[in-house]
């Protein structure tokens, strides 16, 4: 199922590289430069984090980034302006928590947020604290305005729950590579392979995230069957380093672009080895 053609296209041809950054981290202008650097680095879809004050699903790396952004004045209104001002080729997805979606604009419910997001060029939403069971109203609004609603599948998601989620998902599924919250790790988990196996029968692109930080990770994950890789904390770490070491915006942007290239390259290598394996089989 897909509402957004741009997102569908991103997964259509080769593995998708889906980076994440917190919008407004550490400030509005630098953040714009960073997102654009991701784009230059080869992003197919960019997940833009809209910070919420109580981010219960995040690891500490992203939590700190959300705090930096909030402290610098980020709001949903500014977020949409940011999206509008961006000069990027990648498809944009907004990642945020349900309360911000629910409260936005006049009247209750998620519709005003989705309408505004659509107008700002956002193609999809990821809402980590919104399970499929509570998602009907948001799903309807997304369908109305042509946005995809991406769900996260955990290593522990199976059976009825998985079916229900796959009925509701659109665009891609976010396959959580391991238990836990977001955060860069050094290894790639076996849970990923298991999850991809479980999802094989569902006809929707599978992007794997949680803990990917190097081109080599990316390669292995895509080789293992992923249609895309989602990278968050590893990139946010670069921004945090920039803050800690007081680096120039350009320097940080360059690093982000370089890391993006490495990740994208890795994904491509993984894809090649997979298709070669299939072909030689």
């Amino acid at each position: 199922m897909a509402n957004s053609e741009a997102i569908a296209a991103a997964f259509a041809d080769g593995p998708a590289y889906v980076p994440y950054l917190v919008v407004g981290d550490p400030d509005y202008e630098s953040s714009k430069a960073y997102v654009e650097a991701l784009d230059r680095g080869g992003a197919d879809v960019i997940e833009l984090g809209l910070p919420f004050s109580e981010p219960i699903a995040e690891g500490s790396t992203i939590q700190e980034a959300l705090v930096r952004s909030l402290d610098a004045g980020m709001t949903p209104t500014r977020f949409f302006e940011f999206a509008e001002e961006l000069d990027v080729d990648a498809a944009l997805v907004c990642m945020t928590y349900y309360n911000l979606i629910y409260q936005y604009g006049e009247g209750e419910g998620p519709r005003p947020f989705v309408e505004r997001a659509a107008a700002a060029g956002i193609q999809g939403l990821v809402v980590p604290d919104l399970p499929a069971e509570e998602a009907d109203p948001l799903r309807e609004a997304c369908d109305e305005f042509g946005l995809d609603l991406v769900f996260i599948v955990a290593p522990t998601t199976r059976g009825d729950r998985l079916d229900r989620m796959m009925e509701n998902v659109s665009g891609y599924v976010y396959v959580q590579a391991r238990l836990g919250t977001t955060g860069a790790r050094d290894d790639v988990s076996d849970q990923t392979t298991e999850s991809l196996d479980r999802l094989r029968e569902y006809d929707v692109p599978k992007a794997v995230g949680f803990g990917i930080s190097t081109g080599e990770h990316a390669e292995r994950i895509v080789a293992g069957g992923a249609d895309g890789i989602i990278v968050g904390s590893a990139l946010v770490d670069v921004v945090a380093e920039g803050v800690a070491e007081d680096l120039s915006t350009d320097e940080v942007a360059d690093r982000l672009e370089a890391l993006s290239r490495e990740l994208k390259e890795g994904a491509r290598r993984g894809y090649r080895s997979r298709t070669e394996a299939v072909e030689s089989a």
Partner: protein, 437 residues
């Protein structure tokens, strides 16, 4: 209207098998009208589904005698039943019969143990091997640590670094009870970061770990489960009131932070239409809100909050117009929370529970009044209920039950400081304490 209206659950009261049907609310799907639900990361869903299942089997159906063991341990280890005491001097002062439900006498000094013991025992029945919990002021953390020691379960408590420095005695109590206290250094180092950190731990360890939530908040089944564990307060109080006074009270009063002592005190009275239920929230310094600073100088989410989603449930919240959660404030750290249990939000909307805000000044007066007229030093949280009594006694009927949710030993330093900062008419001379400060 919002989309949630379509999902409003029919109350299954009429067919409920339990003695008092009021307790059926939310049991099956965690919905209280438009409130409640399970707004959690997918990774936690299996854990809360497993928990909901265990709740149904052990708590509702007493499988393996769980509830029997729970009640026995509450009696022997916790000191239940707690008395329902006539407050002679307050009764005289207000010209009405005032009765105190003495949860301050529970082991640990507050109602918190009812829940902590229930959940740690449940975790044991579920075969979990480890307990985690978050704590702000340390009350829930100490209760959980005690229960975990008693039941021989390894326990880790997450606590913001700033809170650790403000609440060292409670930190020490947890450590004495053998719990690991993990300082949370992210963000501002307070309760919200500790909650996130605990969720993080749980998300990684759900398979062998149970997360003990401290109030009737969070995703289903926590709100109903915590309520059911705390409902022992009103089960006892209702029987004691009938036995001591020959009838039901006209009014029942409890302070409300997350609302666990509140619903515990109300649960068995909800269906007694004649009994007025008063939930007393922390009015802080004022009910005005500073949107720009993101600060609500109060914790009156029932009274002044708006519907939203926080920590796994839809409920009433203190939030700005964007939906960002405000920093709440109260002289009592245990009421200092921007949300409230979804069941209370529902009962307020239904008109069954009256929310009232009592400000810091009135709470401090209440603190001193109970201390020097009845010989009971209440927790600052509890003190709000006595501030309410002073301000609203003329609106009450002839028989009032007030829950003394906890004792004030933990609050002595705060009480000295806060009393010193304002003009509390009934406070003792504080000079010997404040001079060296």
């Amino acid at each position: 209207m919002s989309e949630t209206d379509t999902r409003t659950t029919e109350e299954p009261n009429d067919t409920a098998p339990s003695r008092r049907p009021g307790r059926e609310r939310g049991r099956d799907d965690g919905k209280f009208g438009r409130y409640g639900g399970q707004y959690v990361p997918e990774a936690l869903m299996p854990a809360i589904e497993e928990l909901a299942d265990a709740y149904g089997r052990y708590v509702l159906n007493n499988e393996d005698g769980f509830m029997d063991e729970f009640r026995e341990r509450l009696a022997d280890f916790g000191g239940r039943p707690t008395p329902l005491q006539r407050a002679d001097r307050l009764s005289e002062r207000y010209d009405t019969e005032v009765y105190l439900k003495r949860e301050d006498l529970l082991h640990g000094g507050a109602h918190k143990l009812n829940n902590a013991l229930g959940q740690v025992l449940l975790a044991k029945y579920m075969g979990k091997e480890r307990i985690i919990a978050e704590t702000g002021a340390g009350q829930h953390g100490t209760a959980t640590a005690m229960a975990a020691a008693h039941l021989d379960m390894p326990c880790t408590i997450y606590m913001g670094e700033r809170d650790i420095n403000r609440q060292r005695p409670n930190v020490f109590r947890m450590k004495l009870n053998g719990s690991e206290v993990k300082p949370v250094t992210t963000g501002r180092g307070t309760l919200k970061e500790a909650i996130s950190e605990t969720m993080r731990d749980w998300a990684e360890t759900v398979e062998d770990t149970h997360y003990v939530i401290g109030s009737i908040v969070g995703p289903h089944p926590f709100p109903v489960m915590v309520r059911d564990f705390q409902a022992v307060i009103s089960e006892e109080a209702r029987e004691q009131a009938i036995e001591k006074t020959g009838g039901l009270p006209t009014d029942v009063v409890a302070c409300a932070g997350g609302g666990s002592n509140t619903m515990g005190t109300f649960a068995e009275f909800v269906d007694d239409e004649s009994v007025a239920l008063h939930a007393v929230e922390a009015g802080g310094s004022t009910l005005e809100v500073d949107e720009a600073a993101g600060v609500a100088p109060n914790s009156a989410s029932l009274y002044a909050g708006e519907e939203g989603v926080l920590h796994g449930a839809r409920t009433k919240l203190l939030q700005d117009s964007d939906g960002q959660i405000m920093e709440s404030h109260s002289v009592s750290s245990g009421l200092d929370y921007a949300g409230v249990g979804p069941e209370l939000a529902y009962l307020v909307d239904e008109g069954r529970v009256s929310p009232v805000a009592v400000d810091d000044d009135a709470a401090l007066e209440g603190f001193h009044r109970l201390s020097n007229t009845e010989g009971i030093i209440p927790a600052l949280e509890t003190a709000h209920a006595f501030g309410f009594l002073e301000e609203h006694h003329e609106e009450l009927g002839e028989r009032v039950v007030v829950n003394v949710s906890g004792r004030g030993d933990k609050d002595l330093d705060a009480a000295i400081e806060e009393t010193d900062q304002r003009d509390v008419p009934n406070a003792p001379d504080m000079s010997m304490f404040t001079e060296g400060m």
